[in-house]
Amino acid sequence: MIKFILNNKLISTNESPGMTTLDFIRYNKHLVGTKIGCREGDCGACTVLVGQLRDEKMIYNTMTSCIAPLGNMQGKHIVTIEGLNMEKMTPVQAAMVEESGTQCGFCTPGFVVSLSGFAMSSEEVTFKNAISAIDGNICRCTGYKSIERAAQIIVDQLQAKDLKDPVNWAIENNFIPIYFNTIPERLKEIIPLPAISKNGTSTKVGGGTDLYVQRHDDMHHADIDFLFDKTNLNGIHIKDNEVIIQGGATASDLLYSKELNAHFPNLWQHLKLVSSTPIRNMGTIAGNFVNASPIGDLTAFFIGLNASITLSDGANKRTILLKDFYKGYKILDKKPYEIIESVHFKIPDANTHFNFEKISKRRYLDIATVNSAMSLRLKDDIITEIYISAGGVGPTPLLLENTCNFLQGKILNIQNIQEALDFIQSEISPISDARGTAEYKRLALRQIVFAHFTECFPQTFKIEALI
C-alpha cells in the first residue's frame, strides 16, 4: 500500500508501485490538467510538484511525473495544476494570461506548476532563478519571450517573499491554496514504507529517470527496490579531508550543497548543463554511474576528480576507483545485488583547479555529444597531479590516462598542453551517431580539453594558440 497526499486528498493505493505517477494522476484519478508530451522527461508537460517534510518544513520540488514511479511518492505531497487552482487566478496564472504566455495551452499547466514551485521555494528571488525553474518545460508555440515576461512579473511580486518560510508566505499571498498549511501535520500521520530489504534480483530504482526511459513498459509490474528515500543513501558530508556523497544524492542535492559550493565556485554553471531542474530533482548520482552511459555527465565530472565509489551488497563493502567501474560498453564491475553507497574524493585544495565542459546540440537539457572534466594540481608552475575525463568518445566513460601521464610533472605551458592535445586522439575511439560524426567528436573533445585550460588559466591560455 502506497500512501501520499494528492493535492488536498489522502491517497492509499494498492496500485503497482512501478506505475508512473503520471498514469496514476491522469488515468486513475482523472486529473487531466497534467499533460503528456513525451513520456521521457524531456518536455515538462507532465510536471508536478512533490513536497517532502524535512526538518518540520515542506520542501517542494518539480518532477516530471511521466518517469517518476509511484513507489517514490510514499509519504509525499503531490501537487498538480488542479491542486493549485483557486477561485481567482493565482499571481502565476494571472501573469501568464497577462503576458500571453500561453497559445495552444498544452505546455501551460507545466509552466504554471514549475513557476508556482519557484514561488514557494527558498531560493533567492532572481530572474535567473525563475527561468531556471522552467528550464525543463518546452513550449513549441510561444518562443518563450512572453513566458519570460510573465516570469519577470512574478519575480517582481516575489521580492517580499520570506525565504525562511516560503510556503506560508505563498499561502498568505495567494500563490497557493490555504490547504497547504495542513499538509505537514497530515504527512506526519502517513507511516513511511517499511525499509524492506529486497532480494538480489529486484530492480533497484533511484530516481527512475534512466530506467523509465529505457525500459518503460517493463517497469510497471517489476519487482522494485526503491532506493530514492533510503536514509543511508542520502546526504553529503566532509570527513577526513574527503567529500563523501551518498549514492542517492540527486544532481540538485549537489547543486545546492553548501559543502560542494564552497569548493567548486563554478558548480552552478557546470551542473546547469546536466539535464533540467525536474530531472536533476530526481536523477541520482548512483543512477548516473550505473546506467553506464558513455556520456553520463556526473560520471565524467567525478572521474575528473579521480573519485572512488563504495559498493555494498548488504554484508560487505568494497571501494574502487570510479574509472575502474567501467569494463566495457555497459559492462560494470558490479554484482547485480550490489548498490553504490557513496562516491568520495579528496577535497580540492587551493592549488587544485577544476573545470567541467560539455558540448551538445542544444546547450541545456540535452545529452552530451562529448563531455570532460579536469582537476589539476599545481605547485609553482609544475603540474603535480592531473585527471582529465572524457565522455562520448568510446564505449565507456574514460580517464585520459596517457594524456594525464604525459602532463604529470610537466610545466604548465602552452607547448606542453599543445603536445598533450595530440595524445588524446590515440586514447579515444568515437563512433558516428545521431549526436555527431566521429571526426567531430574528436575535434570537439580536443577543443573542450583545451577549454579546461582557458577556463582555469585564462591569462596563459588563449584561443589564439589554436589558430
Binding site: 503528456i36 513520456r39 498544452f106 518563450y144 545529452i367 577543443q447 589554436l466
Partner: protein
Amino acid sequence: MKNVDAKNHVSGKSIYLDDIPVRQGTLHALLYDAPVAHAIITHIDYSEAEALEGVVRIITHQDIPGENQIGGIFPDEPLLAENDIHFWGMPIALIIAESEYIARQARALVKIEYKELPVITDPREARKQDSLIFPPRTFKIGNPENTWENCEYVFEGEADSNGQEHLYIETQGAYAYPTEHGSIRISSSTQGPTAVQKTAARVLGVDMNRIEVDVTRLGGGFGGKEDQATAWGVLCALAAQILQKPIKYSVHRMDDMRITGKRHPYRSDYKIGLDKNLKIIAYEATFHQNAGAAADLSPAVMERTLFHATNAYFVPNVQVTAYSCKTHLPPNTAFRGFGGPQGMFVIESAIAHAANELGIPARDIQAANLLKDGDEFPYGQIVDYCNAGSTWTDAISTYNIKTIQKEVDNFNINNNHLKKGIAVMPVCFGISFTNTPMNHARALVHVYQDGSVGVSTGGVEMGQGLNTKMVQVAAHIFNIHTNRIKLETTNTTRVANTSPSAASATADLNGKALEIACEKILERLIYVAAKQMNCAEEAISIREEKVCVNGQPTELAWEKLIQTAFLSRVSLSEKGHYATPNIHFDKQKEKGHPFAYHVYGTAITTVTVDCLRGLYEVDSVKLVHDFGKSMNTAIDDGQVEGGLVQGIGWMTMEEIIYNKKGRLLSNALSTYKIPDIYSVPGEITIKPLATEGHPLAIRKSKAVGEPPLMYGIGTYFAIQNAVKAFNPNYILKFDAPFTPEKVLMGLYEGREVLAKVKAEEEKA
C-alpha cells in the same frame, strides 16, 4: 483582448483529445508499423499477438469495407499496407486491446517477415532513378538563358535544407464511437476536420453524412495535423465500425515521430546573375523536394516553393523548376511556411554566395532588388500594396544597421574566442491557398433568446488565437461585449465542406464568413429596432449593447432587442459564406493572381559564436513586420515570436537524421532538439509597420501565422558571417541546419588542428 482560452489554459481546464472523458467499454488502438523502409511482406503471423489476453482484434487492410486509400491529393497512400512497404513506419495492422499497455505487449508479439529492397533517402538520387511523385513544374518570367551573357557576375551552387519535425506538444490522436444508423462520431486532433470526414467515409464505404468529426482544440499543429491527422481518425473510425465500440488512439511520441511526415528536406541548385549595380537580372533554380513515399500535400508544398523562389525580390528573368522526388521516407507534409521557406533559403544562399565573392555585405544585394508596386512576380501577379521596401527601410533605420555593423566589427577585432555575425532577412509571403478552389469558408451564428451568441466556423483553434479573433469579429459587428460570445467546437455537422486551418488564411476566410453571417442578423435586428423605435432603418445603429437612433442611445438594450426580435418570429440564426474574390491561377500557363495579398517584413539577426566550442547564441532579432492593422497585437506578436523561434530552430539545432536504411535516428525528444528557453534570442524586438492594412484581410489585420517563421533564415547567415570572421579559410556552405557540429568543423576547416584530427580518425 487576451486569448479567450488563456484562463482555462493556465488552470489546466482546456480539453484536448486525450482529456475527453472516455465512454464505458472504450478500447485502445495501436499501430504495428513497418520496421523496414522498402520491402515486400513475405510472411505474417498475428497468432501470438491475437492470443494475448486483452487483445480484442487485429485489423488489417483486408478488414476495410471501402477503399484502402487516404491520399488527399493523389490516391497513392493506403491506410494499411497490403504487400508492399514504402517507408519505415508504414502502418500495417491496427491492434485493438483493452488497454494501451496490452496493445503494446501485443505489438511485440507480431511476427512479420520481409524481403528487403533498395532504399532511397536522397531526393537527388530519386530524381536520377526517375522516381517522381508527379511531373516537374516550372515557373518562368523573362528569359534567363539569354540574360547570363549580359550579367556582370554569375554564381552557381547548391543549397540544401533539412526537414523539421513539427513537435506539436500534443501528439496525434483520435477517439471514435459508433452512433445510430451506421454512423460514427470522431473526435480528432486535426487541422482539417473535413479531410478526416471525407477520408473516413471513403475507407468505411459510407456516405459523408454518416461521419461526424468534432474538434475542440489542438495542442499545436503547425501543419503536422493538416493531412497527417487523418490516418488516426480514420483508423479509430474503422475499428469503431467493425467492433461497434468506442476506440481511442492517443499516439506515443516516438511512434508519432517515426510514423508521421515532416517538413520536406530540399536539395537545390541555383544560378544567379547580377549586373554591375547589383541588380539580380537572372535567377535559375532547381528544387529537389524530398516528398517521401507518397504524395500527401507535396504537390501543394512544391508549388509554394516555386511561388516564393524569389522571396521579396524583383527579378526580371527567372526560371525555377521543382521536382517532387519519391523516396522511402514517411510522406512529408505541410509545415508552417509550406515550402516557402525552402525556396527562400535557396535565393538567400545565392545572394550570400554572390556577396561573399564580391566582398560586400549580402544586404547590399538584398536592398538593391526589393519588390515594388507594379513589379511582376514570376507567376504573373502584379505587386501592389507592396511593403518590401518600407519594412526594409524602417528596419534598417529604426535599428540603425550601421551602428550594429560597427559594433559587430569592433567586437570581432577585439575578440577571437567569440565572434559575432549579423544578417538581414526580408520576407514576402503570399496569403491564400495556392489551390484557388480551397479559398472559401462558412460560419454559423446563433443568437440565443437571452442575447448570448454561439459561433461555429470551419476553423480549428490550435494556439494561433483563432477563437479570440472570431469573438472579436462577432463582438465588433454586433457591438456587444465579448463575454456574450462563445466559440463552439469545430464540427462537420455544423459547418460542412471546410478547408483545413492552414495557409495562414483561417482567420481571414472564417472571419469574413462570420462577418457576413453577423451582418445578416444585424440587418434583421435593425429592421426590428426601427419598427420598435418608429424610425427609419438608416437611423438605427447598435453601440455598446444599446440601440441608438441617429447615434443617440435609447433604452432599448441588446437583450431586450433580441427578445423583441424573437417574439416577432425573426430568425436569430444565420450562416455566412465567403469566397476570396479576385484570385485565380492557371496551372497550364503557371500564371495568374493566386494570392489575396502578401505579407512583408524585415528582420535583423545578431549572433555570437563561441569559436572554441563551436556553440552559438542568438543575441537579438529586431524586426519590422507588416501586420496590416493588427486586430489583436498580443496574439499577433505571439505568432511572430513563436514563428521566428521555430524558424531559428529549423536553421540551427533541429536535425532530422535518417540512416541509409531509412530509419529515423532522431526519433525522440532526447535526440531531436527544439529550442528551449535558453536557446531563444536574448532579445526580440517587433515593430509594426505603420500601414492601413489590406481590404482582403480580416478587419485589415493581415494573416500572421506563417510569414515570421522565415525571419529565422537570417540566423543561418548570421552564424555563417561569424564563422567567416573567425576562419578566413572557411568555404561557404549552404546546408541547413547550422548545427554546432557544422559550426565547429567550419571554424577549423583548412586549419592544422582539424587536419590532425582527420588523420587520426582515418588511422582509427
